[in-house]
């Protein structure tokens, strides 16, 4: 299961994820919710993500590339050591942008949540 909560403070949207970002409805949910955001910069907070698989990692790369195309920023916040290890194994640590603590103090201008 994956739950995504969105907080918007234009031009930044923060997607707080909890659960698993894995192949299937979970990854598709995050893809749809991230893809529908009008903000130029996205932060995906992974603090509550217990597991991620290759499909989930691929989705994060996809969102990273889309942000680059739109001249925006894509940041991963607070990945657990487990998740970070998988990113290291797949050589993504040198590609993706990380920031511990990012997004947690944003004021809530727009909030939505979806569970898959």
């Amino acid at each position: 299961m994956l739950r995504v909560e969105i907080r918007s403070q234009p031009p930044v949207a923060t997607l707080y994820c909890s659960g698993r970002i894995v192949l299937g409805v979970e990854a598709e949910t995050l893809r749809c919710m991230a893809g529908s955001r009008p903000e130029q910069n996205l932060i995906v907070d992974l603090r509550q993500v217990q597991a991620i698989d290759a499909a989930g990692l691929g989705l994060l790369v996809e969102l990273h590339c889309r942000a680059l195309e739109n001249e925006g920023d894509f940041t991963l916040a607070n990945p657990s050591p487990k998740v970070r290890r998988l990113m290291a194994l797949t050589n993504l640590e040198s590609v993706l942008q990380f920031e511990d603590g990012a997004g947690f103090e944003l004021s809530c201008c727009d909030e939505r949540a979806m569970t898959a």
């Binding site: 894995v22 192949l23 299937g24 597991a51 991620i52 698989d53 290759a54 499909a55 990692l57 691929g58 989705l59 790369v61 996809e62 590339c65 487990k82 998988l86 194994l89 797949t90 050589n91 993504l92 040198s94 590609v95």
Partner: protein, 147 residues
């Protein structure tokens, strides 16, 4: 588990499971196997690695071996002893050229949204091998002393 479409036979430290070849069956099968490993005393650190590798192996079997077709069948066996956890997953597909499977570009970076599964499995498990032309994968994770 997903109703009558999956069957489970469990004996001592061996476990067999059959699931349908669609992605909706993967989560329940994966979780059932992880429950079995927990019952067998497999430690958390090994279990986390096995969970991710198992997810990848099932995803490959469903997407490439079964084309996400629920009329097809995936067979899985799990053996646990004092030395290792061994998982074998067999799909009905024609397999693939395992020697040609690449996960990253020459500089080691993959910027596509696919192609990381085999790389992850090799990084997390102690042994990953294929047979039957690639339609059967064998994953082995050595257990830490004291488990």
């Amino acid at each position: 588990m997903r109703d009558a479409r999956q069957t489970v036979e469990s004996q001592a430290s061996a476990f067999e499971l059959v699931l349908t070849g669609d992605s909706t069956a993967v989560a329940a099968a994966r979780d059932r196997i992880m429950d079995f490993l927990e019952e067998q005393g497999v430690g958390d650190e090994e279990a986390i690695d096995i969970l991710v590798a198992l997810q990848e192996a099932f995803a490959n079997a469903v997407l490439h071996g079964c084309q996400n077709d629920p009329s097809k069948i995936i067979r899985c066996s799990v053996d646990v002893d004092g030395e290792a956890v061994t998982i074998v997953i067999k799909d009905p597909g024609e397999g693939f050229d395992t020697s040609a499977a690449t996960d990253v570009s020459d500089d080691g970076i993959n910027l596509t949204n696919h192609g990381r599964g085999i790389f992850l499995m090799r990084g997390l498990m102690d042994e990953v091998s294929y047979s039957h032309g690639g339609s059967e994968i064998r994953l082995k994770k050595l257990r830490r002393a004291g488990q």
